[in-house]
Symmetry: C2
Subunit: 388 residues, 2 copies
């Protein structure tokens, strides 16, 4: 039973600074007991927290803070236990991708007696689900409108993605003004994460021209708005565009009929943040130009040329390979000059290259990555070493 | 209770030539009794009909054919009566926008004792709904993935749009190969309808850069693929792009925070097809260039210039007003030279201009249309007269 693709995003999006008026009514649909998941205690000092308390004043609000970046399976287990004890009806995840991913795994874990890691590794199936409502406070991951998550096991140093069609949030409240206070560093990392979600699929060439042109539109918008919000963090429209473009990146809207591994650069970076706990978007910013450089050849160059003209606004006057180099140069300029991100893994806590072979093996799932250019484990080691 | 916008498209899309494998299972979710709505009896000669029969072999399939272009409220009343008599559980609409719109109004009419026209005019509320499954066999309207419909009353010569959030089809089976046999004329009319859905919203400037860039992508893809499928009707990828771009046009994906009347040209055309029963997309093709010409001025010209560069591939060397003229010229060339459509209303059954004042009054809802350029009833008469 196949078709070119199926598309189904049941998430209700409330977008904008007035969206929270709908929060209480949305939560109430699912029951009385709400578990608020969040990261830093700083949330308690924000007007957003007051709004949440007001909107849930006639509900029972339970809380679990301290969800860490690259969320841990042990935290999910703690949240699942709380759900069982308190008879939680709905999860409210407030924060970045990590908090929302934590809620996503908590959703089925709340109905599972064992360790949530079993649900990620496939040892046990995900069967029942708590509804998930999200309030993203940073743009980038798109996890507020997709059915993916990623979780880390600090015992085994594994970082494993998971997916289930029932993991789409039932509702997400996307208020761009919540991201005004996100630091320039995190803003850049988030936008680069979203950009990379599009770019990696774009280079896999889904068959539909309509997909390609839309992905170009989203990428163009992210690259246009990122310098704007870095210069003016309170630019509502710029923040809104980056937020909306981020939400759509992994929803399935642009995937279409791709073959192979659509997220090669992501898979490489996941191993870096699993081993060294560095910010995902920073890892991508460092690795992406080297990955693009490694994959640039006479056969792949036309893809780069199209990206250059349609997204980066380059003049189509050079050879495709030259265009490819100009694309990489433009991205480097954005990431390292405009955004001021560090350029090398060694500057971000990666002590040496000794773990690269193992990281490459896991990124390649013990084989070869089949993408728009196939990458062997040796190739991945080369990309990581160039990024070091 | 407002927010910038809310977005929620619950429709499950099965896209592609193999998608019908899922049809039986999808229908069965809702019950045993299926009402197949369709237009021409030609359906019975197609492999698609065989597929439908196979997929519903263990269900009770009832049929109502003869749904006309610009579907009539009397046909909806007939379908609603059948639903009540046969205890229909789910509607299966197979055809163009007219058949699907007929199903959309039948959905609440099946639970209403009176004339379905009451539900359109607001005399009675839409309260309960039959689930709708669609198989579009022509691209353009986007009604397979939105919650809008339009219905004609041949007694009063009214053609009235309707909307309810529960009118999203629960599933749509979008197989581009079903559109291979659509005539060049209907293919062009459908694509121009979809293009106009984007263009009219684009000129209203929703606030988000991300929306604008995506709409540009979809418009670019439609204009790129239309000549391809006219030259080669079996071009699967071209048909697929036009189909997918059409589906998204009215889903809410690109609406964002617009103000005023987003569909001025559509509202004008709706009066033409209400009075003269001409193909909607043809009416748009004739009126759109005159509408754009009328609205082009020093203030609006930058919008045209942006469209010219980002969608029509024009070089940004002229003044904005000159760019605007070039945009209109490029669209005229596509509609009338490439697609070979008739250029004037008088060539399409519009006998005279005497009804234009009344049509303008209804299009303007007795007032003025507030759009990217405001249009008085006199202005609309001018546009209609230029199109005549």
């Amino acid at each position: 039973m196949t078709c070119d693709f199926s598309y189904h995003v049941p998430t209700q999006i409330y977008f904008g600074k007035e969206s929270f008026h709908h929060l209480g009514a949305e939560l109430k649909k699912y029951g009385q007991n709400v578990l608020l998941l969040y990261g830093s205690e700083r949330l308690k000092t924000l007007p957003l927290y007051q709004t949440i308390c007001e909107q849930t004043s006639d509900l029972n609000l339970f809380e679990l803070g301290g969800v860490e970046p690259n969320p841990r399976h042990s935290t999910v287990n703690k949240a699942a236990t709380l759900c069982k004890e308190k008879h939680i009806d709905v999860l409210l995840a407030v924060g970045g991708g990590s908090v929302i991913d934590c809620a996503k795994l908590t959703s089925p874990a709340a109905f599972y007696a064992g360790n949530c890691w079993d649900l990620v590794t496939g040892k046990a199936p995900m069967e029942r689900f708590l509804p998930i409502v999200t309030i993203p406070t940073i743009s980038g991951t798109g996890t507020d409108m997709d059915a993916f998550g990623i979780v880390s096991n600090t015992e085994t140093l594994d970082k494993v993605p998971f997916f289930h069609p029932n993991l789409y949030p039932t509702a997400s409240f996307c208020d761009p003004s919540q991201t005004f206070t996100v630091s320039a560093f995190q803003t850049a990392c988030g936008a680069i994460d979203a950009f990379s979600h599009y770019l990696e699929v774009y280079f896999m060439r889904p068959n539909l021209d309509a997909h390609l042109r839309c992905m170009e539109g989203f990428m163009k918008s992210i690259l246009h708005c990122l310098p704007i919000v870095l210069a003016k963090p309170n630019d509502y429209e710029g923040r809104a565009s980056i937020m909306w473009a981020s939400s759509w990146a992994l929803s399935g809207f642009t995937f279409g009929p791709t073959k192979g591994t659509p997220f090669m650069c992501h898979w490489i970076e996941d191993e870096v943040s699993a081993k060294y706990d560095i910010t995902h978007g920073l890892g991508l910013a460092i690795i992406l130009p080297h990955y693009l450089d490694f994959c640039l050849n006479a056969k792949s160059a036309p893809l780069y040329a199209e990206l250059g003209v349609n997204v980066l606004g380059l003049s189509p006057t050079s050879t495709p390979v030259e265009m490819g180099k100009k694309c990489i140069e433009a991205l480097r300029h954005l990431f390292f000059t405009t955004c001021g991100l560090p350029q090398r893994l060694r500057d971000c806590g990666v002590a040496g290259t000794d773990k690269f072979p193992e990281m490459a093996r896991i990124a390649c799932r013990n084989g070869t990555m089949h993408g728009f250019v196939d990458l062997t484990q040796e190739d991945v080691i080369s990309i990581l070493t160039a990024s070091f």
